[in-house]
């Protein structure tokens, strides 16, 4: 079976005042289509960094990474952007919503740049499903943290990407909302047979996925 993502000996380091700081070392992992993977690890272990490399928002310092048939370590940034636009959905720890765009406009944005039909209808449907039907015209500043997070999730799945990279999507939510969000993400993944990478602190949540990857100090500790 073809792998969607394949990382081989990925490493990442920063130079801080002549000193080399290793963030990620020798990360090798594979993610299949329609596979749900959890990444867990302590704060500062490098989970977000890994996710950024996978999203093409950060170039790895070494190693090899392919997405579908594209060699991410070789192709130009423009090409990566083009791939990300239609195939990779992102949910960030800090949401990164467009500040002056309403919830609806935020969700519509990827639909529009992907030139999908009926963007408004689709966006409203997703927002309603996430319980934001009454807040579609609110600006991010007029939403609570949890609501913002849900808008970010809606935005990431709206354009039907091949994979969703979610960085602690339930970090700001109460138990009830958490389970709604998680259900949506897993349902989406299963329904459309898309992959999901979930960064989380919650062991119980991680257990829902097909595979758990444990990161410690920038290295994969456990891979089952």
């Amino acid at each position: 079976m073809g792998y969607l993502f394949s990382l081989k000996n990925i490493s990442l380091h920063y130079m801080l005042k002549q000193e080399k700081i290793n963030i990620l070392n020798n990360i090798s992992l594979k993610i299949k289509k329609n596979e749900r993977v959890s990444i867990i690890g302590e704060s500062g272990s490098g989970k977000t960094s890994l996710l950024m490399i996978m999203a093409g928002l950060q170039r790895a310092s070494g190693g090899l990474m392919t997405f579908e048939n594209y060699n991410f370590t070789k192709i130009s940034e423009e090409q990566i952007i083009e791939i990300r636009k239609s195939k990779i959905g992102m949910i960030f720890q800090d949401f990164y919503l467009l500040p002056n765009y309403s919830a609806l406009e935020n969700v519509m944005f990827p639909l529009e740049i992907n030139k999908l039909i009926n963007p408004k209808k689709k966006a409203i449907a997703i927002l309603e499903e996430l319980g934001l039907g009454k807040k579609i015209n609110n600006l991010p500043s007029e939403l609570s943290g949890g609501e913002q997070q849900r808008v970010a999730i809606a935005r990431s799945i709206s354009f039907n990407p091949e994979i969703i990279l979610a960085d602690e999507p339930t970090g700001n939510l109460d138990a009830k909302n958490s389970s709604i969000v998680i259900k949506i993400l897993f349902d989406y993944s299963k329904r459309y047979q898309k992959s999901l990478v979930l960064v989380t602190h919650d062991e119980n949540l991680a257990k829902k996925s097909d595979k758990i990857i444990k990161i410690k100090d920038g290295e994969i500790e456990d891979n089952d």
Partner: protein
């Protein structure tokens, strides 16, 4: 409320903030730099121009008393308060053994020259016990004079002691061609009664530094004395230089306004970049008041630093301009003046105060919970009524102070009105623009993002629109006005003035003379006209002595013989102000009269003048008035008559010759073969006048291009204001799949959408205003430099594009994730 530790915190914060501060320091500095350099340039040029005009006159004032000297009592009165040098001028003939030459002689006293320098070669060798004479080089050349050779004036011998290279008070003295200087004591050996009607006593006067009693006041009883000050040198020159100085002060006000825009924008971006910090301070329990003090403290500290820095730098620049432009227009010893620095600082403080209130009001809006929620949303800074009221109050103070200080209060005030109209106009203009954008309905994602951007950033866009609109209006206004002024100055430059006038060319010598000139220099430009002479005896059958008083400014017109001429066409440099050119059918005498004389004598078309031509009285009818500019030093006549009549009366020729440049001309042969011809050498005065005008020209060009350049920079920098907000948004665009070039395209289209209509409308506005300003306030001809304006606008757009491209491209192609973390 404010204790020592707090001041300490302020200072520490100031230094910790240096990165943010340094970013806006540049705009701060630029804004103040343009203002302070214009001030320094202005006063430097004023000083030097004043020096030049004093030099041309030979003093601050010149008193002419005519044939007789000023009474002793009055002279003593003047001497008490002023330095004075007495001069007697007269026309005479100078002879060596074999030849003679008519010259103008100036007899000077021991105080001469009061200003400037008399340059003689070889250096002064006057002996005290003799009658010495200095002659101009041409005289020496024609009479073949050597040092220590003896020459004769009347029956007195003079020893040639040197040749004059340059003398300061050439103005007016020049018109007589060849000249010589003698000492005043030598006058005793001359027969004054025989020196003719051109004898004049002149007094050059220089103000004592401590005393500023007005000379005109002192002599207001003396109706016979004619006083000229260095300001009313010669009409054209002084009009040029006065207007130029007025223009300079306009430019300095404009630069002040540009500084205001720059200060305001950099303040906003400073406050904005401190948003997080301010919120954190507040959440830590520092009071609103203290936060404001903290910010104001930093701003004022920076204002003091940057104004000092820019003032010092502008002095340094101005002091080196002479070297750069190879001129002596700028004072090279301009010194730091505490007073001037204080003026710059306080004016910029007043500007600051104008904006400070609404901006510190913004601080109230910053608090941490709000900030976390509103994370990246726009700063909202619409002015409320209270702020507008306070702003207007300070603006009024500011306008009143600067208008009152200015030498032309009324005009300065008008410039401010122009500025305020611009402000209001462009505010509504930007609203209108946003309104129009609202109707832009499209499915194109690029356009939709642009529409959204313009709507979301409408606050910033208003600021940008106003900055750009006002900035461009000022820049274009300065540009159009300065090029009108410069083209006027260029016109009054004596580029076509001849080197020599030749008078007394007889009919029979005409062809021979023309041939001789051609032999000397085949490329010489010559203009030869027929002349005769006439005296005006009656106006409308009334004797002139009875109806025109000696006090009349045009008295010279009826005082003695006038040269008259006739031409088929209107002379090139004259134009008709009233009436028509010759009626060719008529055989009667028709007259064309100097417009100014006509005005002073209250003449009308159809009036009859009786002229005495060659002993016969003829009555002529005035059929037109002509504007005559005598200062261009080409051939000009106050009276022209119709050729049909002119060709019937006895005449001779008058020639003006301009030889090719760099060609050495030996006039001796020419003079020898035409003993009847007299000639005047105009070269020195032409050169002096041109040097003076050149200075004005260069100064105007330099100062206005400087203001234009910085003005454009300040306008350009207003776009920076919006950038930090857009950076964040653009980064998310990129995450969601927009390519950097697509994002930059969006930014550029947006900038063009905003700026092009503004450029066009500010161009229209400034065109109208500069037209009014040049035509009605300055009184020059309006000149529209269309191509250069197009070029300036294009250059601006291209540089703006480049700046936006470079700064965003760098951001957008860097590692996205690390960029995100930094934001």
């Amino acid at each position: 409320m404010i204790d020592k530790t707090f001041i300490f915190i302020c200072l520490k914060d100031f230094f910790r903030n240096k990165k943010k501060l340094s970013k806006i320091f540049f705009t701060f500095f630029l804004s103040l730099f343009v203002f302070s350099s214009v001030l320094v340039l202005e006063s430097s040029i004023k000083q030097e121009l004043n020096k030049s005009s004093v030099m041309l006159l030979g003093g601050d004032f010149e008193i002419t008393s005519g044939k007789n000297p000023i009474q002793k009592v009055i002279l003593e009165k003047i001497k008490k308060n002023f330095q004075i040098s007495e001069i007697i001028e007269f026309n005479t003939i100078i002879r060596n053994e074999s030849e003679s030459l008519p010259i103008r002689v100036k007899a000077f006293d021991e105080n001469y020259p009061l200003v400037g320098e008399l340059k003689i070669t070889p250096e002064k060798v006057m002996k005290n016990n003799e009658n010495n004479i200095y002659v101009n080089k041409n005289t020496g050349f024609i009479l073949d004079l050597k040092i220590n050779q003896k020459v004769k004036i009347q029956d007195t011998f003079f020893v040639v002691s040197g040749f004059i290279e340059d003398l300061p008070d050439l103005n007016n003295f020049f018109s007589y061609g060849d000249f010589a200087l003698i000492q005043k004591k030598s006058m005793n050996s001359l027969d004054l009664n025989n020196l003719g009607s051109f004898l004049q006593h002149k007094y050059k006067v220089v103000k004592n530094q401590k005393n500023d009693q007005s000379l005109k006041n002192l002599l207001k009883e003396e109706k016979n004395l004619k006083i000229r000050s260095s300001n009313d040198l010669n009409e054209q020159l002084s009009k040029n230089s006065n207007n130029f100085i007025f223009f300079l002060s306009i430019v300095s006000i404009c630069s002040l306004l540009i500084s205001g825009i720059g200060l305001y924008n950099s303040l906003l971006s400073f406050i904005n970049s401190n948003r997080l910090q301010i919120s954190i301070y507040k959440s830590l329990g520092i009071s609103k008041f203290r936060v404001k003090v903290l910010m104001i403290f930093q701003i004022i500290l920076m204002l003091v630093f940057s104004s000092l820095f820019s003032y010092l730098l502008s002095i340094l620049t101005v002091n080196n301009l002479n070297k750069i432009f190879d001129t002596d227009l700028f004072s090279s010893k301009y010194k730091f003046s505490f007073f001037q620095y204080f003026a710059i600082l306080s004016l910029s403080l007043i500007i600051l105060m104008t904006f400070l209130f609404p901006i510190t009001k913004l601080l109230d809006k910053f608090n941490i919970s709000d900030l976390l929620k509103k994370n990246r949303q726009n700063l909202e800074f619409s002015f409320d009524k209270h702020s507008i009221l306070i702003c207007s109050f300070f603006l009024t103070i500011f306008i009143s102070i600067t208008s009152i200080i200015s030498s032309k209060t009324y005009e300065t005030f008008l410039i401010f009105i122009f500025f305020i109209i611009c402000l209001v106009l462009f505010f509504y203009f930007s609203k209108f623009q946003n309104y129009l954008i609202y109707f832009l309905n499209t499915n194109n994602i690029t356009l939709r993002i642009i529409k959204k951007n313009i709507k979301n950033f409408s606050n910033f866009n208003s600021i940008i629109s106003i900055s750009m609109g006002v900035g461009f209006s000022i820049v274009f206004f300065i540009f159009i006005s300065s090029s009108s002024i410069n083209s006027q100055i260029n016109k009054s430059m004596l580029n076509f003035a001849p080197d020599y006038f030749f008078v007394g060319i007889q009919k029979e010598d005409y062809k021979k003379f023309k041939y001789a000139i051609n032999e000397l220099d085949e490329n010489a430009k010559n203009k030869i006209v027929k002349i005769s002479s006439a005296r005006v005896t009656k106006i409308n059958d009334l004797a002139v002595e009875k109806i025109i008083s000696k006090q009349n400014d045009s008295f010279w017109f009826i005082n003695g013989e006038r040269r008259i001429s006739w031409q088929e066409k209107i002379p090139e440099n004259n134009y008709l102000t009233k009436g028509k050119w010759w009626d060719k059918e008529s055989k009667n005498l028709q007259l064309s009269i100097d417009d100014k004389v006509a005005h002073n004598f209250k003449l009308n078309l159809g009036d009859k003048l009786t002229l005495n031509i060659a002993g016969r009285n003829v009555v002529g009818e005035i059929i037109n008035f002509r504007k005559v500019d005598y200062t261009d030093m080409t051939i000009n006549f106050a009276i022209l008559i119709n050729p049909q009549y002119g060709n019937k009366i006895p005449f001779e020729h008058l020639a003006s010759i301009k030889f090719s440049e760099n060609k050495k001309i030996n006039l001796k042969g020419l003079i020898d073969s035409f003993p009847n011809i007299t000639y005047f050498d105009l070269r020195i005065i032409v050169k002096k006048t041109n040097d003076f005008l050149n200075k004005v020209f260069l100064g105007g060009g330099l100062i206005s291009s400087f203001v234009i350049f910085i003005g454009l920079l300040v306008v350009c920098s207003s776009f920076k204001l919006i950038e930090s907000f857009k950076n964040y948004q653009n980064m998310i665009f990129k995450i969601l799949g927009l390519k950097p070039k697509h994002i930059i395209r969006i930014l550029l289209i947006e900038v063009f959408l905003i700026s092009i209509p503004i450029i066009v409308s500010s161009l229209l506005l400034s065109t109208v205003v500069s037209y009014v300003f040049i035509n009605y306030i300055i009184g020059f001809e309006w000149h529209y430099p269309a191509t250069t304006i197009l070029l300036i606008s294009l250059t601006f757009l291209i540089s703006l594009t480049t700046v936006i491209f470079i700064s965003n491209f760098k951001n957008l192609t860097k590692n996205t994730y690390s960029q995100l973390r930094r934001l």
